[in-house]
Symmetry: C2
Subunit: 113 residues, 2 copies
């Protein structure tokens, strides 16, 4: 592993998780992949309205390098690619889900203000 962005104590488990899912958009990408199983580059981009093409590609590549997602490219014209979670990536489900659940409750609280 190259750089350790989050070394609190060596081996802090939260730190380890952050190595993988921190980074702009990563967890949101994972959230959509959890819901839809398979996503095209374009459909992801439509969901993440404020994420640039460049940024989306970068984050997808990192997730792929960490073996959280895998990519399948079809050479047809026009090109098409599919992204899906790996088995390893699916183990992140409880983490992403916990975030989604908390966020929903939080949104409801905010609305009543």
């Amino acid at each position: 592993m190259k750089r350790q962005v989050f070394d609190c104590q060596p081996g802090c488990p939260v730190e380890s998780t952050l190595q993988i899912i921190s980074g702009k958009w990563k967890s949101v990408i994972l959230y959509h992949l959890l819901q839809e199983k398979v996503c095209h580059f374009g459909s992801l981009q439509r969901q993440l309205v404020n994420c640039s093409r460049r940024m989306l590609a970068l984050q997808l590549k990192k997730l792929e390098q960490d073996q959280i997602i895998e990519k399948i490219t079809y050479q047809d014209q026009p090109f098409k690619t599919e992204y899906r979670l790996t088995l390893q990536g699916q183990t992140l489900k409880p983490v992403i889900l916990a975030m989604a659940v908390w966020g929903e409750k939080y949104n409801r609280l905010q609305k009543n203000k």
Copy 2:
């Protein structure tokens, strides 16, 4: 709320959670507060060995503004401050715990490589 760093779709729950817990060190801070109930500034800094004083203060302030933690200052010399989770902050427990659990498993996997 001032800026929306993560607008995927408006109201995306994962995005809402990220508004609160994304940011360098925030979730690690919360992790320690969950374990120890009350932390002094200094003890937090000792845990987060690579977090500068400036950075720690900044993140604590943000968490305080979002009413996730609360601060108590004792005016004795030398100064002392205590941080603890608010009730609202305690609702983040499932999120942080899920991250910790995943990180532990991940660490064990890495060790066997």
